[in-house]
């Protein structure tokens, strides 16, 4: 890999941010498997989408600035874009789930019972 020429004071924060971002995204995705109802699961990927992606993109800015030997900030675009768009998808999915549970679709959760919230 081509990260050999980086100064240590840049490499250390970048590495820590990468590890944090990776762990956050992994735990968020793991939540998709571990939580037992859709309404609980919808909260899990938000972790990876906001802070996880943010950490990784800052690390990417640090390393690409070091490689190019000038400030590279265009990763900010992806950060801003993700911050603005992933809530929109989540809101639409939430509305879709409420709409569908209002209609014919009952008892979707594998766990059953208290997992299902009451639709307003």
């Amino acid at each position: 890999m081509n990260v050999a020429a980086m100064p240590p004071w840049l490499a250390l924060p970048a590495a820590i941010l990468l590890i944090a971002g990776g762990l956050l995204a992994l735990i968020g995705s793991l939540g998709l498997l571990r939580l037992n109802s859709f309404y609980a699961r919808i909260h899990a990927p938000t972790m990876g989408n906001t802070l996880g992606a943010g950490c990784v993109l800052i690390a990417s800015m640090l390393t690409s600035s070091a490689v190019a030997e000038r400030p590279v900030i265009h990763e900010l675009l992806i950060t801003v874009f993700l911050l603005l768009t992933s809530p929109v998808t989540t809101m639409l999915l939430m509305r879709a789930a409420l709409f569908r549970s209002d209609h014919e679709y009952q008892g979707e959760s594998e766990g059953e019972g208290e997992g299902e919230g009451e639709a307003p």
Binding site: L30, A44, P120
Partner: protein, 162 residues
């Protein structure tokens, strides 16, 4: 359109987007960016004639900082909940909050803040009674959530947008 006196945020952000994508501040990029930004902003303004008039940018920065801090904190909390699901599943539920904020742009920002924070998600907003419905992953104490939304987010948003 009544745009006298307010900065043209759409043009400015499109131009900034163009310059950041091209990673250059050369004059021809400014020119091309303006050539794209002005007609696009002109054409899309007709889609939404109602313009946001944000004020008090210092307060907006403070709000951003609060949101960032809350996102970090609730990320850790939700991570703990997910890793703790071996023992027990979290107690989920809906929470209804009466709002005073009426401005549609302020409500949109509030919805994005709430949904971007892990652990809470926007579920519904009733425009007649102005009641916001949230879905909360860990519904331990409703009063704390209510206090956070009302004081930490809604109050600054009302001052910024109204």
């Amino acid at each position: 359109m009544m745009i006298r006196g307010t900065p043209r945020w759409l043009e400015i952000s499109l131009l900034a987007l163009w310059l950041v994508v091209n990673e250059s501040l050369a004059p021809h990029h400014w020119l091309l960016g303006l050539l794209f930004a002005a007609p696009i902003a002109y054409l899309t303004r007709k889609l939404r004639p109602r313009m946001a008039r944000p004020r008090r940018f210092g307060l907006a920065l403070l709000l951003c900082w609060h949101v960032l801090w809350d996102v970090v904190r609730s990320n850790l909390a939700v991570g703990g909940i997910i890793l703790g699901t071996i023992r027990q599943q979290p107690k989920i539920g809906f929470l209804q909050i009466p709002l005073e904020l009426r401005d549609p742009h302020g409500l949109a920002v509030l919805a994005i803040i709430i949904t971007a924070t892990p652990g809470t998600a926007f579920a519904n907003h009733d425009p007649n009674s102005n009641v916001l419905t949230l879905h909360v992953l860990d519904l331990q104490d409703e009063a704390t959530w209510l206090h956070t939304i009302k004081h930490r987010y809604e109050r600054p948003l009302m001052e910024i947008f109204e």
